[in-house]
Structure formats: structure tokens, C-alpha cells
Symmetry: D2
């Protein structure tokens, strides 16, 4: 039966890669619905995302591609289907709510396995959508103890990505290392400006004329992971930092949802500390 | 007891208006927290929005202001409180959902009296939030008959504004006239481009590089009412019109919610077929 | 000797095109520096732009590509070098000035053969840059007579593209037909909004919150040709239409220069009444 | 004879200021063409810019305003006329060129007294416009020695503002202190991101999806002065840092020219390390 697959290839660049890869598709009589490539010349790295349709076996296609690609190649043949996510949140509802509404309409393209929060504030909202909500308070626990409880909860769920929808706690390297390239965070500033706590207050104090939001993969370095999407909104002297915070929320939720959509559609490659997005 | 009020004045321009109005505030020892004026020189029209705090009686303040303003002056002294809205929708959930999430968090600044839709699709979503949902199907009814039923339902509710959150039916002049300057619509294009049906398809066919959304007051002329807010997003040749529709939804919901916030905070004056926004 | 070429292919879509074309490059041991494709599924049309480096003869490469591409294929092998342009203008200097400054710094990537204007206003500016300026007044001439004189002047110059840098006269079909896909215009609105004369006045009267500019190829239909680039800037009720005009000028010049750069780098395909831009 | 003036008041906030100031205008039968106020509540500071027309003596009006304003008030009554500027540059022509073109068309609203550069590259361009150009090389001079020569040259000119149009040298505190709130710089990043040298390279290495430009007053702290205007442009993984630099130039020149226009129209108040812009 005819299938559709997203083929993602990430390897050292070499002459003839497009030819050799497209030959694999041609020899199997596959249609190329969509094809994008990029070569990072600085690091001599090749990225390709092709959507093919036709009659093929995933394993056979994968083997054929591996045979023509350089040894280090990271190749994926992905049949599009809803992925699974878990969401971590704290008290604010805008980013979480945007994801819940997209989920309810079927637009999200992912199943939400559960929402975990360090406060109980969002329970009512989440349970309105019949999604499991777990409150894991951090009171009287040190960071490691709290995270251990969060990880215990997370690990009872099968998921592809973890979304930090304004989860206002810093993660330890142990936690981050357990989910490499799987954790997506929204930071409420136009990174690298205003790293750390209360970026709106920092922006207000600096007197900037534009504020922003940044969705990125989480790595060990706080607010330093590969950026997936950013957006900005104009501000002026009339806004207090609370006004900026309010104004910034729309940007935050839209940027996070846009980044999530890119990731769920397998459009994002991590390239060192950057991303390649098709 | 100390009160806070928004004073809105809209009248023919005349020399000394700022002086005379600020004297009224000064004589009553009121604080001006915020003050903005604008003179439309083309139509010789004066607009002023002042937020005052202090000890005053609304009626006495209103009389004093009327005494110094030109005869035609439209003056309002508004004590900030949640307004009431009714929402009309059809099948799409993004604009409605954005308002529901803001309502649930208390950020909206309005009570949602009910949601009325010509399809039953959105019932589940609305009822998750314990908000009354009325399905008024249009099948087998002509436009006037359907509208009569909608108006009957609406008129059982007390409301300040009616929000068309992607309500995909054209309103008759009779309907529009019944709610002057009360109906806020989101049109899924950058008006005046792509008036009428299926603007994303029109945009796709024209090959534009930017699409947009427009929130406006509804008047007799379809898509021609005073514009409150607009926003745009870049597109390119790779997007089908369905892709544009998907991409445009974020703009639509954000622009509608932004326009609604402006209206609910009494920041919008209608000035002929335009708006003055403070 | 090693050469670098831009290969542009535009043809009906067919299975295996990427494979067959990349095989031509592979067989000649050419490096692909950059490669982008797009299939317009609505019209079953394939577009590809590849930058290759290596040892090749233009004619031989062209023949080889023609041999593997569908019969209707439009194939170009272009060695990057400065193109030639002529500029038509009227009285306003901002769009013209932006091009002159880029030309003076060597950033433009084109030789300016001459500037032709229907007023003498811009002579001083143009001659400061030692570029030939021709004043062809329209007084006492009908449209055809004036255009005949302009064409006579133009046709004494060798050029790849004609840039209308705020040339405020409507061109006849005869003129337009003489230079197909060669004339680039900047229209001072966010097309298709505000087609025709004085778009800023139209925008002011409509009360829009965003204005824009559009660079497009000129076709027979006024302001209806394929759009190359657009941009917008926010406005508000405080701007008169003269203010909008002033504010809009920056957008106009940047959009025109950006479109011109795309065209000069062979990044623009015309696809019916749209563009594909790589 | 009827005059027009911009009245700028900057003082500690106090009850009744708008009333008292507007009374001064009313008592003299002046028309208010335009009026904007702002109160910085954090610092209890009042800002007002009013454009008045009518019969008045500047000194008498100033005295009357001083009589009603708090003791610390900084009050200016400015008759609009072209201001004078000097420009410092290095090698890049885009920001300088943009100002030259605006000057040539009469749009700038300022006289350019001279251009001073630490390289001779821009001489030809500047002299095309019959504007004095001074080359003050920095070779074999330490920072203080070079600056002393620049100051010597500057101080032979009468000017209101000094514009750093991509002047690629760091200024000493001595220099900065000599021209308080008079030096306007364009920094080629979205401050406070990428302070210091080569911000495009920094942006490229961080993998941001948006780059920007910032015009600000120069203070002792490098890139830390009050921000006047900012703008951004989207980028992606396909741009090298040289591409970002090229793409960023348009933003730089537009932001600098926009900031300069605001300053020349007396629309900018410095408020601590921020600006209030009307």
C-alpha cells in the first residue's frame, strides 16, 4: 500500500549526496512531494528533509539510504502520525491554554499525555479538557528531590517531547541530560537579551523599544540552547513592566506553539547549538 | 470614598478645551493618572481620554464637564469594571478558544454571557468552560428568519459588546443597526485587501508575500467598518491557501483579542468610519 | 578553469527530475553550493535554482540539462556578473537615492546605464553620481507620444532590467509588452489594497492601522503584476496622509531595493501571475 | 506676528500641572495644535510636549511657564527650524548615504556641517554632495590623541547633534562628557543583545532567528545609553554572518534616520537611562 514518509538526513557533506539520495528515491519509483537541503559550510554538514510517497518498506529504504550516505549519517524515515507530549507548567495559563485549544480542535498534531505543575493553580483548566494533571509541589524539597519526583511522574508516560509552557523552575543538568533534544522551553525575552529571571523587568529597566520571546531546546546552559523560533512586539515608555509582561504573553504563546508545530512536523534539525529549520 | 474613573470626551474642537476640562479636574482635586488627547483637524473633532482618581460624584463630574464642553459633546465617566459580552461563532475554535482561555484566567476583563453558533461543533469546547452555548441552525431558514432567532436569543442577555469570533454569516442591515458600535468582527485579511469570501484563497491566487487579519466594528457595509487593529504575517510561494489559512489563524485570534481588550478598556473612539485609539 | 554558475530550471513537473538533474551535475564532478526546488502542485510546475562550481562548458552543461528535462523546460546557466539597469523616475528621490548609494558603494550588483525622468528635478542628484540623466518632459504630448520618446531613449541602452523608482506615469500595453518580465515597479501600498492613484490618501481615508509597499513586475494590468516583495509599517490615527506618505517612503525604498537584489541575483522565477523566490 | 513653538516641559510630577500649563496657553489665547503628556510614576516625573501657535514672546511665555511649574522644571520653548549636525563615520556608506539623500531632498530637517572620518574611503561620496569632509586618521595615535584631533575639528563647527553613522571607534568618557545628550549612535544589534564588537558574528554564532539595530544616545557605558529606536529583521540558518551583516544594513540606516528625525523634531526626552518619545 502507498505510504508517505518524511526522510531526514543529517551527515557530513560530500560531493554527490543529492544525486545519490535522489537516486535511491528514483530507483524505488517514489514521488518527491517536498525537498529541502542545506549545507552548513562552516562545519561541512549536510541536512536534507524530503517528503516521499510511494510503495516502500521503511527498513529497506533506510538501508538503501545508509548505503549511499557517509558513515556518520543520522537518517530517519518517519511515517507522519501524532506524536506524544508531556507539558510542564507553573501558574500561568496562556501558553498551556494555547496548546490545549489547539489540541481540542485537532490542530495540535500531538497527544497530550499529561500536564505536570509545581502549583495546583492550573488543575481546573487542564481537567476541563480531560487531560491528566499532576501537582508536584516543590515546598520543603530541594531541587534534586523535587526533580526526582517530577522525573518519576514523567517516566510513567511515553512521550516524544516535553514542553515547558512557562515552567518557572530551573532544571538540573541531570534532568536535562535525561531528555536530550526533547525539551522545548519558551523564554520570555528576545534571547540572548535578558537571560535569567524576570526578563520583562530587565527590559523595562533597560528602556528597550521592542520586547520578544524565544522558543528553544533546553540544554545544560540556562537559556542558551538551540533557538527554534523567536518573535518580537513593539513597546514604548508608557508600558510598565507589568504591562510588558501582559503584552508579551501573546508573543510567548504563539512562538511556543509555532516551535512545537515545527518540531512535531519533523522540520527541525539540531546543528550544534543552532537549528536548521525546513 | 476615593474612586477611579475613565473620562471620555468626544466633541467639536474649540480653543481652551484642555484648559477647561483640566480645570474641572483641578477644582475637584482629582489626580490625573493618564491623559491623552487628539484633534482630528480634517473634521475639527476633539477626543480626550483621562483616567482620574479622587473623591467625586459621577453625576456632578459629568455635569461640570458638560458645562464647559461644546453642546454636541459626547461625555462619559466610566467606573472600570468587567463588561459583558456575547460571542457569535460558527465552527472554528481558535478565536473563540483564545477568548475562553483569557476569560478562564481572569485576564479578559469581561463576563461571557453566552456563545451562540450556527453549528453545534463548538458546544463541547464552550461547555467545558461552563458557559451557556446556544446552537441556532440556519438550515431551512432565510437570512432574516435565522437572524430573528439569533436576535431573540441575544436579547435575552444583557451585554455591552457582541464579538463575532469567526462567525461566518453575513449580517443584515437590520441586525447591524440594532447594535450600533457594539459588534466587533475579525476579518481574515489585511483589509481593505480581499474583502468578502475566502480571503486566504484570494491572497494565494494574488501571490502576496504578506497576509493579515483585521478587527473592526461592523457597519452596514460588509468589511467596511471602522478598523480597530490589524496585524500581518509573512508568507511565501511554498504555502498553499490551506497553509495560509492555518498560518493566519494565530494572527486572527491575537488581533481580535487585542481589539477586544482595547474596547473593553474604553480606549477606542469611533470617528466617522475610523477609530481613534488611546 | 573552475567556474561558478547559477542554474535555473523551470518546467512541467515529472518524476525523477531532481535525480536526473543532480546526475548531470554529478557526472561532471560539479559541486552544489546551494540548491532549492519547488513544485507548484496546482499547475504541476517544477522550479529549481542550483549554484554549481567546477569545470564545465556552459553550452555543454545546458545541452545535458535539456536532454534530461521535459521538452517545455526553460533552462538558464548564468555566470554571475553585474547586470545592467535603466531607471525611470519622476520627482521623488528616496527610491532612486537608495539605489544610487548602493551603486556607489558597489553593493548594488548592477551597472546603472542611465536615469530617465519626466521632470528635471532629479538631474542634480543623478549627475552628482556621474550617471547620465535624461529629462523627457510629457508636456504637450499624449501618452503614446511621450512613451515613444522614452522608448527611443531606453533602446539606445543595453539593459537587463528597467526599474521604476517612483515613476508616476501609467505605462501603455505597448510599452509593457516591449520589456516582458523586465520592468520592476514599486507601488506605494500593500497591494492589492489601494490600487491606483494616491494610495496613502486612500489608506488615510480608510483608517487602516498598517500601511505598506509592494515591488512587482509590471504587466498590462495596472498594479496587478507578479509580486516580488512587500513590507508594512504600523500607523495610527495621529498621522495625516502626508505623514503616512513620509513614513511610507522608507518602506518603499527598502522593498524596491530588496526586490531588485533578488532579481539581480537570479532568485526570482515568474510563475503565471506570481513569483517563486529562492 | 503669529508664531509656532514646541513647548517641552520635564519636571517632577505635581497635581494640577496640565491645568496650570494649559491655563498659561489659554490666557495668551494660544492654539494647541498637538499635546502629549506622560508621567513616569516610578520616578514621579512629568513630561509634556505641546505645539502651540499664536501671538507670544518666547521669553514671556517661558517665564509664565516657569512660574507655574515646579522649581526643578526643565522648560524649553523652541521655534522649529533646521538644526545643525556633524557626522562621524568610518568606511561604510549605507547609514551616511541615507542621511545624505534625505539632506539633498530637503527631507532631513537639518544642515550637515561636515563629515569626519577615520578613513578616507567616504570622501568621494560626501564631496559629491558638496559637504565638507575631514579625514582624521588614527594611525600612530593613541585613542586620546586621535580624539583630541577629532574634537578640535568638531569644535570648529556649530552643531546641535553629533551623529555616529557607523563610526567604528570607541569613545572615551572625556569625549562623551563633552557632548551630553548630543551624540546619537547606531549599534548593529538589537541591544542589549550582542554588545560590543561584531554583533552580526555573535548573532550568527548564537543562531538567533531575528537580528536588529538600535539607535541610542551615547553615554559613558558602551552600548548602554538611552535607546531611541530599534527595529528587527528575520534571519534563518541559510545566512552566513556576512549575509546577516548585509541584511542588517537596511535596518541600521532606517533606525538611525528615524531616531535622528525624532530628535530633530524635539520629540525625545531623556529620562534617566531611558527615553520618552512623543
Amino acid at each position: 500500500m502507498e505510504k508517505r514518509a518524511r526522510v531526514l538526513i543529517d551527515c557530513d557533506d560530500a560531493k554527490g549526496l543529492v544525486y545519490k539520495i535522489s537516486k535511491v528515491f528514483y530507483d524505488r519509483d517514489l514521488n518527491i512531494d517536498n525537498n529541502r537541503e542545506f549545507v552548513d559550510k562552516e562545519h561541512n554538514r549536510f541536512f536534507m528533509r524530503t517528503v516521499v510517497t510511494g510503495l516502500f518498506e521503511i527498513d529497506e529504504l533506510l538501508s538503501a539510504l545508509q548505503a549511499v550516505a557517509p558513515k556518520d549519517a543520522h537518517i530517519r524515515v518517519i511515517i507522519p502520525k501524532d506524536k506524544k507530549i508531556v507539558i510542564l507548567a507553573t501558574k500561568e495559563s496562556h501558553a498551556l491554554g494555547d496548546i490545549l485549544i489547539r489540541h481540542a480542535s485537532g490542530e495540535l498534531g500531538a497527544e497530550i499525555e499529561c500536564v505536570i505543575a509545581n502549583h495546583d493553580t492550573l488543575r481546573e483548566l487542564v481537567e476541563r479538557f480531560d487531560i491528566p494533571f499532576f501537582h508536584i509541589p516543590a515546598e520543603n524539597l530541594n531541587r534534586e528531590e523535587h526533580e526526582a519526583k517530577v522525573m518519576e511522574c514523567i517516566d510513567q508516560h511515553d512521550f516524544d517531547y516535553m514542553v515547558l509552557a512557562k515552567y518557572m523552575r530551573i532544571l538540573t543538568p541531570t534532568f536535562v541530560k535525561a531528555y536530550p533534544q526533547q525539551i522545548i522551553n519558551i523564554h520570555h525575552s528576545f534571547l540572548p537579551a535578558f537571560i535569567g529571571a524576570n526578563p520583562y523587568k530587565q527590559a523595562f529597566e533597560r528602556g528597550v523599544k521592542i520586547i520578544g520571546a524565544t522558543a528553544h531546546f533546553v540544554t545544560d546552559d540556562l537559556d542558551e540552547g538551540p533557538i527554534i523560533a523567536q518573535d518580537v512586539i513593539p513597546v514604548n515608555h508608557r508600558l510598565s513592566w507589568k504591562d510588558m509582561q501582559r503584552a508579551g504573553r501573546d508573543g510567548e504563546k504563539i512562538v511556543l506553539s509555532r516551535a512545537l508545530a515545527l518540531v512535531l512536523h519533523d522540520r527541525v534539525f539540531v546543528n550544534g547549538n543552532k537549528t536548521v529549520i525546513f
